[in-house]
Each structure stands twice: as C-alpha cells, then as structure tokens.
Symmetry: C2
Subunit: 475 residues, 2 copies
C-alpha cells in the first residue's frame, strides 16, 4: 500500500472532519416525514461529493412511494456510483446509509445534535457521526485522497447508499435483487461498515449475526372489553390465559422452554470454543452497557456465546391491555402477546415457527379455557454466518494489522442487519462487516459520537483494506 | 299513599320528559375540562328547579380546585337542598349526580347524544338519561307533584347532588364527613338511585357491593431499555419475571391462587343459598352482555354468586412494556403489572394486601432472578353489605309491590359504588340502593337510554317509597 495515502489521510483530517460536519448538519431523519426533504438533500450532498471527486458513474434508483399512515410520500433514492472500471481489478461493493435516527436537544443531548462538536476527549459528537455518515464519508475520503495524489484506486469501487435504513430499508431489497445481474454484476465482495467494535479499544471484523423470528399470540374472549367488577369471576379472561401461556416460553435464566429449539442449534466444537479465548471484552463493559449487574452469566465467554451463538427469547409486551399509569379495572376482550426468538445456525425459521406454534397451542389446550388462541410468526429474518477464512476477511484482517498494529477480533453480533443477508443471497458473494466506530458510540442514543481517531484511522483502514483486497488471491 | 300522586305522575309524564330533555341537553361531562362550565350550568339548572318547586333551603358546598394535568380548574359544587322540616317526620337523604360520561356522535351513537330522543320502543335515548339525570329528576318530579297537588311530602327530603361522580367524586368524601353532624345530622336513612335492575323485566333492591383492592407489581432489571438482539440471553429480563409471577395469581377457571384468600370469605349458608333461587336472571342475559359464551359457570346461581359474593382476580395490563401494533424488539427495563381483586365479606383489605404481597414475593424469590420486585396496593375500597331486613328496605320492597305488582329481587353487585360506603360510615345510617333503570341501559356506552316506563314508574316508585318509609316503624 502507498504510504502516501496514509500520510494524506493523517494530514487532511481536518478537511475530512469538515466533510462530516456538513453531512451531520443535514438532519436526514428518515422516520419523520417533516425531514424527508432533508433526506433527499443528503442524497444530493453525497452525489455532489462523488461527482466532484470524479466518480465514473453516478445513478439513482427510485424505490417509489411510502405509505405513511395513509399519506403517500416519496422514498429517498438509492444512490449508485462507480469509481474505476478496470476489468483486471477486483470490484468491491460498499453499502452504507445516509439517513439517521431522530434527535432532539430536549432528549438530553449536551449539544445541538445536528452540529458536529469535538469535545476534550476528541470525540466528534453529532447525530449520524458514527451511524452511518462517518463510515460512508470514510470511503469518500479514500477516493478523495487517491484523486488528490493522482493515484488510481487498487480496486474498482461501487457504492450503494440508501436513505431509509433507520426505517426498515423500504424498497431496498427489490433494487438489490434487480441490480444483482445489472449494476452489481461484476461485484467480487461486499463490504459494509455499519456496525461497531465490540468494546472500545480493539478493532474487529464481524462474520455472524443472529436472526429473529417475531410472534404475535392473540387470545380472544368476550366480544367486548368488560368491567372487572361486573364480570370478574364469571368469564374466562383472555389476560389470564395469555399470561399462563407466555410464562411458559422462557425461564428466568433465559433458557427457552419450547421443546426442540436447542436440538437445532449447531453444537459448540472445541475449535469454536477456542475462538472465544482472546476476545477483547470484559464483564465491566457488559455491566456498563446494562447499567447494573443483572447479567445472567459471569464469564465473558458465556456472555458472548449467549449473545452470538445461542438463541434467546424475549417477551416484549401486550397489545390490547391497559398500559397507562394509574389504575383501570378493565377486563380486556382481546389481547396480543408479542415475543421474539433470536435464531442461530442451524435453526430454520419455518421449523422454529412450527415448534413454537405447536407448543403454544398445546399449553393453551391444557388451560381448559373457552377463549380462543391464535399464534403466528409476523416476521422471520434468518441468521447470517460468513467465513472468516475468505479472502475478503483475510484482507481486512491484514489491513487492521497495518493500521492498528493488532490482529482484529473476529466477532459476531446478537442483532440482525437484514441487508447483509440480502446482498449475500442476491449477489451470492461474501459480505464483510468492517466497523469503524466503537461499541460505546451510542448510535441510537443521545450524544452519538465517533472518536476522531476512529474516523481518521478508520478512513485509513478502509483504504488499506482495498489494497489488501487487490493483493489477495481470489479463490 | 295518595292515589292523586300516582295519577299526577301518569298524567304529567310528558312534562317530566321535557325536564329530562332539558337536563340531557346540558353536556355536563366531568372528565373534560372543556365541558366544566356545562357541569356548573347543570348544577344551576337543578338549583333553579328546586327553587321553583319551593325547596326550603338550597345551599352549595365548594370542593375546591382540581389539578388536571397541572392545570387548576374549579370543581363543580355539591348541591344540598331540603324539602320539609317537620321534626315529627323521618328524614331521607337522597344522593345523585348531575355529571355524565363523555359522548360523541362519532363514537357510534345513532342520534345526537345530548338531544333526548324517544324511539319506537319508547326508550328515551341520550347521555345521562339513565346515569344519573333520570333518577335525580325522578325525585324532583315527586316534589313537583306534591307541590302542584298541594300535598306535603310524607317525609323530610334532603338532597346531596354532586357533579364529579364519573371522575372519582373528587372532594365529595370530605364534605360528607364534614356535614355528617351538620347538614346531614337529622338523616334517618340514605337512598341512592344510581344503579340498575339486574335484568330488563324485574325491579330490584340492591344491598351489597364487592370491594376492590388494586395492585401494582414493579419488576426492575437493567438500568435502561435494551435491544433484544444485543442483550437477549445475557440479562435477566423483567418481563420474564413479571409473567412468571403474574401467571401464578389466578387459574384459567377464575380461582384465585393466593393462599388464604378463600379462608376469609364468609361461608355460604343454606339460607343464603335459597336467596338465589328466584332471582330474575337467565343465562342468555349473561351471554348477551358478554357477547358470546366464554362464561365460566353454566348455572345462574353460580354466575350470580361468582359476581356478588365470591372474590375474583383480574389481570389488567402492564405499564412500561411495548403496547402498540406492530413489532418492536425492546427488552423493557422496568415493568409494572396491574391486577385487582374484587373483595367480599369478610375479607379485610389489609389482610388481602398482606397475603398478596407475601405470595408474590415468595413466588418471585423462587425464580432466582437478579432483578428486583416491589408490590404495593395502590387502592383498597371495602366491600359493602347492608341488611334487607332494615325498615328502609322493607319500605322500598312494599313500594315496588305497589307500583309494579311484584316483589323486587334482592340483589348485590360485583362492582363498587364508593359513595355508598362513605355515607354509611360517615352518617352511621343504612343506605338503600333503589335503581330506576334496566340492566341494559348502557350507562357508559353509546346509545344510553332510559325506558319511558322506567322513568314514569320509577318516579312513582320513589314517591311510593317515601310513603312507605313514613308508614314504617323505625327500629
């Protein structure tokens, strides 16, 4: 890799921060129709940056209209761009998003969320700094450095930038599948920088995500809500049945009680066990994130395995019951219990649904209630597991060593990033998750930040990764 | 009793309906500050009616200000009035309320809720017709009839009319206790017409109400709401613990699982058992009210006993959990389960709280969770049981026979009417619940109605009751 590139990044970091400042100043909140024009402005900002840096091709795709509570509003464009068209080089597809979570000073921010501020600890504070404007601009910084230095990029770079990630990526999947044999036809691997280091000190590469199956359990009883004074003791109350069944799903120690679930979980081999030995994570980091010591496991390895490679079941709430402060003596006529299961290899979503439905129906039948129960899976997103031996991971690992002088941790995550699976399935290419920010960036919280060093070193890392990719021998 | 009185009521029913029409036209919704002036207007309407009929004394008591979400708004007055001051006569205190439940045409009313309309089945439809403007005006009709006929009332009548009954009777109790030895000092018995016949065909006298103890069970875990993807399987989830404990409170067949609760319930004697033999109530009435056949018991006697004389426990909801439509993968950090127990003689609220708290804490301890649980009783209203052998009940029973040619059913109710207990405790006098409307009047629903016959015969009944009281030998 060219040392010129690393030097350029180091020397021009103030300009890169200015670029991030301009991006943060555009409140591209995708969940608020009142900010939709800002999301469009943000798309234009990125196109202008790419144009100024001489991208070979910039196009947009229109995902159509969004139905927002009956109001039809236009979805922001998917921005596609290409830098370099050399058939002798590999092509890396970079995905990122230019919309952000909502943020209001009144939520508790110490500064105006849409004004990038650097504090004494050299943290760049502002909404979108880490999620995901910093990483997206990191790639653009790489392009700028090469153009300024008169260097060609070592690979062909393709961008796919969306503006609805924080609002369900509406319309994205269709375009990914449509362009798989079109705009994305020559892609060799996909790189996504939209997650975080596990902790705060050591970079990581992420090769796995849990899936999620979400369930709605509806118990219907009386034809209308009843007064508990008049009817208490005389009718089968849906809430009683709902609690009876939902309480049987998971034990207080987190063990899922649905028979057959753990039979599908890939056994933990000694080899995999060893991969947990040197992960940079300590119990105090979990305590800090949770805010106290209500953790189930006391060993780091058990915590990480519980988060990454074992399923979990959480009860989220009830629709149709009383939820306000105060006292209300209603007997709700129809209640919908919500819960979800985080899934891991080799759990099949259809089989999970089958086991859950059978168990729930069996448990309900035992109650002898005259009410009715209906259980359905409202959403099933599969887990994702990539191979850290693939050349794109090896290249990223070398790039981390080059920039950070440390071997990255190989991590998985407990949550899901659906676009990862979409790219893998649509393009049939390996996807790498290469985070720029730290585990404490507070992506969806107040005072979201990206450390200056993560932004600067992270820009170097993205560039270094492209050089290692170019040097790697593809399989 | 004077036949003239009965004839007068029969002949002047259109004028009485006009009076009710005027009252219904005043939308005295106490829960809506925007209607507070209408509640005051309604108080003036009643005072003017009483003044025009020559009441001996009309006073008001000011309950002070109401804190409505931080806004201070004046509470409507308690209207006190006296008709007759003869120390040789008994004095009956009549309680009623002049405020109403909210009502909007858009809620599904077939007519404008604040315009009294008589339909083909001679039902007087309008908000407050049955709850409680009809009964309050029934008493005023009685006064009018006597004044017009030049007759003295057979007893002294005292009125206590409030305008906040549908909003927790704020300020009333203090005034009742204050006036117990003042305005109400010479009262011999209290009569409240603010409930309903059990069914639709037969009048009843009500001599018992269940109490209610309301509980808040708080489970606290992590310091903040967590993402189930990142934390599922690694922390003790408050929802899991809450469901585990709340599911142990009551069985699907309605049996309370808290040890010791049933030990406090007064045993059912053969004598009491017989009082259920001839109550005018049929299973189809329960099915109609519930909207289907999700009833627990199949015999009328069991249904009525479950409603009136046995306790019940209902789960109402959860504060702090996800309650909207759709999917949300939150792990709530702090959840408050709400449930209540309907209490009956001889359950003591303090003992109920003690048993519930012990049981809940014991069950929580079994879970081995690191979360914390706190249980408290937020409200405890005692049950009420009067004696149907008391002269005021005997008088009311004779009055029913005179007007309806049938012996009334002696009923209890499953809900609570707190003012009943307040009057009994503050004045140490027997309270009679003497309903005017039918069980299907829909007091808090759309299309609230009072049948013309119930209004007219009910007015006769209230007058006849006063004559029977006068004739009765007090103990």
């Amino acid at each position: 890799m060219s040392d010129q590139f690393l030097e350029y990044v180091e020397k021009h970091q103030e300009a890169f921060i200015d670029r991030l400042r301009k991006a943060v100043a555009i409140p591209s909140v995708s969940s608020d129709p009142g900010h939709r024009q800002d999301v469009f402005r943000m798309a234009e900002f990125l196109q202008n940056e790419l144009k100024a840096l001489g991208a070979d091709n910039i196009e947009t795709r229109d995902p159509g209209m969004q139905d927002f509570n009956g109001q039809q509003i236009p979805l922001p464009p998917i921005v596609l761009a290409t830098v370099g068209n050399n058939p002798a080089k590999k092509t890396i597809l970079v995905y990122g998003h230019y919309d952000v979570q909502p943020a209001l000073k009144e939520d508790g921010w110490s500064t105006n969320p849409f004004e990038l501020v650097e504090d004494e600890q050299q943290r760049l504070i502002g909404r979108g700094s880490s999620d995901d404007k910093g990483p997206v601009l990191g790639w653009i910084n790489v392009v700028e450095a090469h153009k300024s230095l008169g260097l060609e990029l070592p690979v062909n770079l393709k961008f796919c930038l969306e503006g609805m990630e924080e609002s369900g990526s509406e319309g994205l999947d269709a375009i990914i599948y449509k362009e798989a044999k079109g705009y994305f036809a020559d892609v060799d691997a996909v790189c996504i920088s939209d997650n975080y280091w596990l902790g705060t000190t050591k970079p990581c590469l992420t090769y796995g995500l849990r899936g999620v199956s979400y369930f709605h359990m509806t118990v219907k009883g009386p034809a209308r809500d009843l007064h508990s004074g008049v009817f208490g003791g005389t009718v089968h109350e849906p809430m009683t049945d709902l609690f009876a069944v939902m309480s049987k799903l998971v034990a207080p120690n987190g063990k899922i009680q649905v028979p057959g679930i753990y039979d599908m979980v890939r056994p933990l081999t000694e080899e995999e066990q060893r991969t947990y030995d040197n992960i940079a994570f300590e119990m105090h980091e979990l305590h800090g994130a949770v805010g106290n010591t209500t953790n189930i496991h006391d060993e780091v390895r058990d915590v990480l395995q519980a988060r990454w490679r074992f399923p979990s079941l959480s009860l989220h709430g009830i629709e149709g019951a009383f939820y306000n402060p105060g006292d209300k003596t209603v007997v709700p006529a129809k209640v919908i219990g919500k819960f979800s299961i985080r899934t891991v290899p080799d759990m099949k979503p259809e089989k999970v649904t089958e086991l859950v439905c059978k168990y729930v129906n069996d448990e309900f039948a035992k109650l002898g209630s005259k009410n009715s129960l209906e259980i359905k899976c409202s959403h099933a997103g599969n887990h994702w597991l990539s191979s850290p031996d693939h050349w794109t991971y090896v290249a990223a690992s070398k790039a981390v060593e080059r920039v950070y002088n440390v071997k990255p941790d190989l991590t998985r995550e407990g949550g899901s990033i659906p676009v990862t699976l979409s790219f893998q399935d649509a393009l049939n290419k390996t996807v790498l998750l290469l985070p720029m920010g730290r585990g404490d960036d507070g992506a969806h919280s107040i005072n979201e930040k990206l450390d200056r060093s993560n932004y600067v070193q992270g820009t170097k890392l993205l560039g270094a990764y492209l050089y290692e990719v170019a040097a790697a021998k593809a399989e």
